[in-house]
Amino acid sequence: MEPTRFRSMRMAELRSFMRRVLAMGVLVVIGYAAILVAPTTKNSYLSAVIDKQARLASLGSPKLVFVGGSNLSFALDSPRIERELRMPVVNMGLGIYAGLRFMLYSVLPRLGPGDVVVISPEYQLLRGLYNGEEELLEALEAFPQGIATIGSLEQWIGVVRALPTYVKNKANRMLAQLVQNPDPKCVYCRRAFNAYGDLMAHAGVPGTDVAAMPMFRSKSEQGPVDQEAITGLREFAQKAAERGARVAILFPAVPDSHLAQNEEVMEKVHQALRDNVPATILATPRESLMPVGLFWDWVYHLKMEGREQRTTFIIDHLRPFLGGV
C-alpha cells in the first residue's frame, strides 16, 4: 500500500478512536453529573447543617451563635448556656473540612442587632483549611444556599477539584444505604445532635485513647498561619459589627498532653488573631487546655464529662463579655 494512503487510513482510524474515547469521557462526565444532582436522604453528619441553619433562622435577635468546627459539637451544653446566660443559643459547630469561610459566611446573613457570635476555630482552620475541602461540597449538598459563601476564584477551583472525590464518596454513601441498616447508635450522623446543635449520641459510647493522636492529620492542616483566613475573620467581624452583632473568639479545648508539641503553632495563631481581628479573645490557648482523659475520640472531641466542664468554662468567660448577665 502506498505510504500516503496508509497514513490517511491511520489518520481516519485515529480520528474515529479519538471520537470513541471522547464519547466515553462524556458518558463518564454525565454519570458523575447524575450522581452529583441525585437526591439523597440527607442523614449524614454534615447534613445536620440543615437543622442548625433552621434553628438559626428561627431565632430572633439577640441570640448567641457558636461558630466553628466539630470541637463545638462536642463542647457545649447549649440548653444550660441558654439558661444561665439568658440568651437563645444555637451551636453551629460541625466539621473542620467544610472550611472556616463556609462556617462564618453561612451565618452572617442571619445576624442582627444584639447578637453575639462566638467563633471557636480549630487551629487547622487558620492553617490551610479556610476554604475547606471535599466536605464543603457535602455541606453544600445539604445547604445549597451556602454556595453564596464561596468567595474567591481559588476556592471555586478547590471546589471543582474536589468534585470527583465528592461524587465518589456520595455514590458510595448512596450504595451503602442500600446494604447497610442505619446504625441506631451512630455518632457521626445528623440525628446525633439535639435541637440546639449539640452532639449527644456519644454519651456512654466508649472512646479511644487520644494521647498519641496527632493534632494535625493531613499536610493541608500544617501550613503557616493563613493570611486569607485572618483577613476573612477580620472582614467577618467588621460585617457582623455593621449588623449590630458582636464577635468573640474562643480557642477550642485541646488535651494538655498536646501542648508541648503544638504550643508554638497555637501561640502563632493566637498572636495573628489578637493583632489582626477586631474581636475579643475570651481565653488564651493555654487557658483552654483540658486533661487528656476528658477527650473522646480526637483532640477536639470531648466526652460528656469534659463537655460539662467546658460549658462551665465558656459560661464563666462569656458572662463578663455579655455584661455580667
Partner: protein
C-alpha cells in the same frame, strides 16, 4: 510512578502519542529514554544498577558468541550469572544470609560480627536480573544470537511496562518485537485498554480494599480472634491474586497500547485442580523461567524419580527465596515444592483411589473437591508469604480455628457495605475467571451489540472510578 496514579494516566497517552508520531528509527531510543526516566522516578541512583545489569548481560552474550571453546562460553555465562546475581545478592540477600550465618555460628560457639547493609531494595531488581540472565543463557544455549544493537537490548531489559514487576519476558519473545516499528492500531489499543481497565478493577476495587482488612489482622494477629484470622487468610489469597494479576494486566495492556506483546502471566490460578496445575496458571513467566533455566539445567525429567523430586523441591525453594529475603518466603516455596513432590509421587495412587470409590465417575464433584483442596493448600502456604515473621505465621496457624466469636463481627476496618462490595467483586472476578477458562472473553465481547459492549466498558470504568480505592498501597510484588 504507580500504575494506579493520575500521573501514569497522563503519562501513558502522552508517551504513546509521541511514540506513534516519531519516525520508526527513533522509537527504540525514545522508549529507552522513557523507560529510564520512568525507573529513575523511583530512585535515580538505582538506574546505575539497571545499566550495570544491562552492560553485564549485553557484553557477556557477545563474548559467549565470540568464544572459541565450550569452556570459554561456559566461563562467560558463569561470569554473567555471578555479575547479575551478585548485585541481587548484595541488595536483597546479604543481610538475610549475614544475620542467619552469624546466628548459626554463634549457636556453634563462634563469635563473628557480620556488618548489616542498610540498602533500599531497588524496585524490580529481581525481575530485570532474571530477564537479562535468561537472555544470556539463551545465547549460551544457541537459542538466539547475541543482540548487537545496544539500544534495543537496553530497552529489552528496561521496557517500562514490565520493569517493576514483570512479566519476565524471554529474549526470543520480546527482543524481535523491537525490530519492527509499531503503528497506531485502534483495535489493539482498545484491547490494551480493556485489559488495563480489568487490571484496575482487580487492584483498586478488590485488592486494595481487601488489604485494609488483611493488614489489620496480619499486622498484629495476636490482637484479634480466630475468625478474623481465618477470614483474613482466605481473603489474602484473593488480595495477592488481584494485586499481582491486576498489575500484570495493566502492564500487559500498557505494552499492548504501545504495540508490544508481553508474556501471559496468569491463567485463572484458583481454578486449578492441583498445585502442579496452579503453577501452570500462577506467575507463569517466573515458573516457566525456573523450569527452563533451572529445572532443565538440573536434569529436568531425564533423571531418576528421586532426583526429579529433589530438583522440583530445590526449584521451589529457590522460587521462594526469589520472592523475598526472609525465611518465611523460603518456607512458602518449600511448602509448594513439597506439595508438588507429594502430588507427583502419589498421582497413580490417588487415581486408583478415585476409581475405587466411584469419584472418577463424577468428574464435576471430583473437580470441585480438587479445586477446594488445592485452594486450601495454596492458601495455607500464603500464610508464610504474608506473615511478617515465622512466629506470626505459627500464631496464625495455631489460632485461626480457635475461639470463633460470631457475635464479635468480622468487618475489621471494612464496614458492612465495604465487605459486601468486595465479596460481590470477588464473585464477579471468579465468574469472569470461570468464563475465561471456558472460552476467551475478548472475542465474545467484540461480538456483542454496540450498546451492550459500551455498557460493559462503561460499567467497568465507573466501577473503577467510583468504587476503586485511591491512594491505595503499592503493588505487593514491588517488594520483590
Amino acid at each position: 510512578m504507580l500504575f494506579t496514579s493520575l500521573q501514569f494516566l497522563i503519562f501513558l497517552p502522552a508517551a504513546a502519542a509521541v511514540l506513534f508520531a516519531l519516525p520508526a528509527r527513533w522509537r527504540n531510543l525514545y522508549l529507552l529514554l522513557l523507560s529510564y526516566g520512568f525507573y529513575a522516578a523511583w530512585k535515580p541512583a538505582y538506574v546505575l544498577l539497571l545499566v550495570l545489569a544491562t552492560a553485564i548481560s549485553y557484553g557477556s552474550a557477545i563474548a559467549i558468541e565470540r568464544a572459541s571453546s565450550p569452556a570459554a562460553r561456559k566461563a562467560w555465562v558463569t561470569a554473567s550469572a555471578i555479575g547479575n546475581l551478585g548485585a541481587l545478592f548484595v541488595f536483597k540477600y546479604f543481610n538475610l544470609f549475614g544475620q542467619s550465618g552469624e546466628a548459626l555460628l554463634r549457636a556453634l560457639g563462634v563469635q563473628v560480627q557480620v556488618p548489616e547493609l542498610s540498602l533500599l531494595l531497588p524496585v524490580g531488581i529481581s525481575f530485570y536480573t532474571f530477564q537479562s540472565l535468561g537472555y544470556t543463557i539463551d545465547v549460551y544455549r544457541g537459542v538466539r544470537p547475541a543482540e548487537r544493537d545496544v539500544v534495543r537490548y537496553a530497552l529489552f531489559v528496561s521496557f517500562f511496562p514490565q520493569i517493576l514487576s514483570g512479566p519476565i519476558n524471554r529474549s526470543t519473545h520480546l527482543l524481535p518485537q523491537f525490530l519492527r516499528p509499531s503503528y497506531f492500531d485502534s483495535e489493539r489499543i482498545v484491547a490494551g485498554m480493556q485489559l488495563m481497565a480489568w487490571g484496575f478493577f482487580k487492584k483498586m476495587v478488590i485488592a486494595d480494599r481487601l488489604g485494609v482488612y488483611v493488614d489489620q489482622v496480619y499486622d498484629d494477629p495476636t490482637g484479634v480472634g480466630g475468625l478474623p484470622i481465618f477470614v483474613a487468610t482466605v481473603l489474602y489469597a484473593f488480595q495477592v491474586y488481584c494485586d499481582f494479576s491486576g498489575y500484570t494486566d495493566i502492564a500487559i495492556g500498557t505494552a499492548q497500547i504501545l504495540g508490544y506483546e508481553m508474556m501471559v502471566n496468569f491463567r485463572q490460578p484458583y481454578l486449578a485442580a492441583s498445585t502442579q496445575e496452579f503453577w501452570r496458571r500462577w506467575h507463569i513467566s517466573l515458573s516457566t523461567w525456573f523450569r527452563d533455566y533451572v529445572y532443565i539445567s538440573l536434569g529436568g525429567n531425564r533423571v531418576s524419580a528421586w532426583r526429579r523430586y529433589l530438583n522440583l523441591f530445590v526449584v521451589f525453594v529457590l522460587s521462594g527465596l526469589w520472592h523475598g529475603a526472609s525465611w518465611t518466603f523460603v518456607i512458602w516455596g518449600a511448602l509448594h515444592g513439597l506439595y508438588l513432590v507429594v502430588g507427583v509421587a502419589t498421582r497413580d495412587a490417588r487415581e486408583a483411589w478415585a476409581q475405587r470409590n466411584g469419584l472418577a465417575a463424577m468428574p464435576r464433584l471430583r473437580y470441585a473437591l480438587q479445586l477446594l483442596i488445592t485452594f486450601a493448600l495454596v492458601d495455607f502456604a500464603w500464610i508464610f508469604f504474608r506473615a511478617a515473621t515465622f512466629e506470626d505465621a505459627l500464631y496464625v496457624i495455631t489460632h485461626m480455628f480457635r475461639g470463633w466469636d460470631l457475635s464479635a463481627g468480622i468487618s475489621l476496618g471494612l464496614g458492612t457495605y465495604e465487605m459486601t462490595l468486595v465479596l460481590v467483586a470477588i464473585a464477579i472476578l471468579l465468574i469472569v475467571d470461570w468464563l475465561q477458562s471456558r472460552t476467551p472473553l475478548r472475542p465474545v465481547i467484540a461480538e456483542l451489540p454496540t450498546w451492550a459492549r459500551w455498557s460493559l466498558y462503561y460499567g467497568v470504568v465507573m466501577c473503577v472510578l467510583l468504587l476503586g480505592k485511591t491512594g491505595g498501597g503499592k503493588f505487593i510484588y514491588f517488594q520483590f
